[in-house]
C-alpha cells in the first residue's frame, strides 16, 4: 500500500514535471507578449518528433536531441513569431489566440499526413534503462531523470529571469515596454527571443516525453488543455508560481486518481473550478494578470 502510494506520488511528480515546463513557457510568453500560445502543445509535439526523426535518419542519440531539438523548435517559433504573430500585437489579444489555434490545426494535420496517427515508440537511452532503488521504494530510472531534469531546467529559467541583468531587462519590458525601449533596448527582438525560448522549453519537455509515451502528432492535444487548467490554477504572470503549481497539481491529481480512479481525468478541472471560486486570480496571480 505504502509502496504503491509512493509510486503514485512519483507518477504525479513526472506529470507535474511536464505541466511545470509547459506552463512556465506559457507564463514567460504571456508575461511579455500578452498572448496565450495555443500552439504550445504543438511545439512540445514537434520537440518529440525532432528527437525521433533525428534518431531515425541521422542516428542522433537522446542527449544530443535534448539540446538540438529545443534549438530547432525555437527557430520554428521565431519564424512563426516574425512571420505571423508580430502582425497582430496592436489588436485584441484574442486574435493571437485564434492565430495560434489555426497554426495548431495546420501543423498537427501536416504531421499526421507525414507520420500517421498511431505514432512511434522512442527507446529509453541506455544509461537510463532499468530501475533505481530510492531506499524506500524502487522506481524506473528514466522517470527519476525526468523529474530531476525538469527541476533543473525550471530552476535555471527562474534564476535567469530573477537574478541576471537580462532577466531584469525582461521584467522591466514586461512592466513597461515603452520605457525600456526609450533606454535603447530592442524590445521587438526581446519579444522574438522570449517566444523562441518558450517554444524551446516546450520542445525540451517534448524530448523528455518521447520515451514515456509514443511520439504521435496529437500528443500535444493531450497535454495543452490540462496545462491551461494549471495556468488558471496558478494564476497568470508568476514564473515561480507556474513551476510550483505544475508539480503540486501533478501530485494532487495522481493522489486523487489513486484513491478514486474514475476521477483521474477530471480532477484537474475540478481543482480549477474550486480555485476560481475561492481565488479567481489563481493561487499566485495578480489582479492585473487576469485582465
Amino acid at each position: 500500500m505504502l509502496e504503491s502510494l509512493g509510486g503514485q506520488i512519483f507518477n504525479g511528480l513526472v506529470s507535474g514535471a511536464f505541466y511545470a515546463m509547459l506552463s512556465l513557457g506559457l507564463a514567460i510568453i504571456f508575461g511579455l507578449l500578452r498572448i496565450v500560445n495555443f500552439a504550445h502543445g504543438t511545439m512540445y509535439m514537434l520537440g518529440a518528433f525532432v528527437a525521433y526523426v533525428g534518431a531515425q535518419s541521422l542516428g542522433l542519440n537522446f542527449w544530443v536531441a535534448l539540446i538540438a531539438s529545443p534549438i530547432v523548435v525555437a527557430i520554428v517559433g521565431i519564424i512563426l513569431e516574425r512571420l505571423l504573430l508580430c502582425r497582430l500585437y496592436k489588436l485584441d489579444v484574442l486574435y493571437n489566440l485564434l492565430l495560434t489555434f489555426g497554426i495548431t490545426l495546420f501543423i498537427e494535420d501536416a504531421m499526421r499526413l507525414k507520420f500517421g496517427m498511431q505514432g512511434s515508440p522512442y527507446v529509453i537511452p541506455g544509461k537510463l534503462e532499468g530501475v533505481v532503488n530510492l531506499g524506500f521504494m524502487i522506481y524506473p530510472t528514466y522517470r527519476v531523470f525526468v523529474i530531476v531534469a525538469s527541476l533543473i531546467v525550471c530552476i535555471a529559467t527562474w534564476l535567469l529571469i530573477e537574478k541576471t541583468s537580462l532577466g531584469a531587462t525582461l521584467r522591466a519590458a514586461t512592466e513597461n515596454p515603452g520605457l525600456v525601449r526609450a533606454f535603447g533596448i530592442n524590445v521587438p527582438a526581446l519579444i522574438t527571443g522570449v517566444f523562441g525560448f518558450g517554444c524551446a522549453l516546450a520542445a525540451f519537455a517534448g524530448v523528455l516525453a518521447a520515451p514515456v509515451n509514443n511520439v504521435a502528432p496529437l500528443m500535444g492535444d493531450d497535454i495543452i488543455i490540462p496545462t491551461f487548467a494549471v495556468v488558471v490554477i496558478g494564476g497568470m504572470g508568476s514564473i515561480l508560481g507556474s513551476i510550483v503549481t505544475g508539480f503540486v497539481v501533478g501530485v494532487v491529481v495522481a493522489l486523487g486518481a489513486f484513491f478514486y480512479p474514475p476521477i483521474s481525468g477530471t480532477l484537474i478541472y475540478i481543482l480549477m473550478a474550486f480555485v476560481l471560486l475561492v481565488k479567481p486570480t489563481g493561487l499566485f496571480g495578480s489582479v492585473e494578470g487576469s485582465r
Binding site: 485584441d92 489566440l97 492565430l99 499526421r112 488543455i225 488558471v232 474514475p262 475540478i270 476560481l276 487576469s290
Partner: protein, 322 residues
Amino acid sequence: MRAGGDQVSSGKFDYLGLALLVLGLALPWLLYPVLATNIVVWALFAVGFNLLLGYTGLLSFGHAMFFGGASYITGIVMLHTHLPMPAALLTGVAFSIGLAYLVGVLSIRTQGIYFAMITLAIAQVIYFAVTVFIGWTGGENGLQAVPRGTFFGLPLENDRVMYYAWLVIAVIAVAFVKRVIHSPFGQVLKAIRENEQRARSLGYNVDHYKLMAFILSAAVSGLAGGMLVVHQHFTVMDNVDWQTSGEVVMMTLLGGMGTVYGPIIGAAFYLLLSDRLAVLVNAPGVVIGLIFILTVLLFRRGIVGEIMGRLDARRARGGQEA
C-alpha cells in the same frame, strides 16, 4: 473583440435577411438535403455563439459543451423515452441553460484570455463525461440510431421535409436572436463590448448582463445541437471536442462577427468548403488551419463585415459629394 461593421439597423428594410431566407428555401434543391440541413444547424450554432463573441465581446472556447452536450441529451431522451421530439429538443436546451449557469457563475468575472481558457477547460470535463458514461453515450462509437420522431404530427423521414422543419425552427431562433440584439438588453451588451468600465460606471450590473448573454448563447447552441442529432440520427464525441469549439469561432469570424447574418454565411461557406475538400484532399486540418490563419491575419471583419464596411465607405463618399 471589436466587431466589424454593424448590421442593418432595425429601421431599414432587411434585404440581406430576405435574400438569405430565399436562399434557405431553395437550398435543399441546390445541395443534397443532408448537407443543407447541416448548414442550417451549424449556422444556428454560430448565430448563438456570435451573440456572445460578437455582441458581448466574450470569446468562449468551450461552446462545444453546449452544442455537443445537448446533442447527447436530446439523443438520449429520444432513444430512452417516449417524449415527443420537440420535448427532447427542449430537454437539450434546458441542459445547456443549466450548464451555462454553472459555468457562467465560475467564469463570467474573468476576462479575455482567462475566459477562453476556463471555458475550454470546463468543456473538457463534458468531453470526459461522455467517455466515462459509455452505457449512455456509446463512447467511441457515438450515440447511434436516434429516431427522428415527428414534428407536430409531420413525419420527418423524408430528408427535405426534415430540412424545412429545421429551417422553420432556425428562422424563428435567428429572429429571436436578432430581436435580442436590437433590444435595450442588446444595447447594453454592446456597451459592455465597447467599454466595460464605462458600462459599469453607468450603473449596469455588467456581470449579470454577461451571464444572461452567456446563457442565451448556450441555449441557442444547445437547440442547434439537439437539431443536429435528430436530423442525422447520431452524434459523436467530435461534437463535444475542443476542435468543434474552434470551428464555431472560425465560422463566426469568417462570416463576420458582430453582424447578425455573418455567422450564417460563415457556417455555410465553411461546410461547403469542408464538403468539397473531403473529396479532394486528405488533409482537412491543413487547409482549414490555413484559412483560419489567413482570416485572422487579413480578413478579420469577415465576409459580411467586409461588404458592410465597403458599402458604408461608399455611402460616406457619396454623402460628401452630394
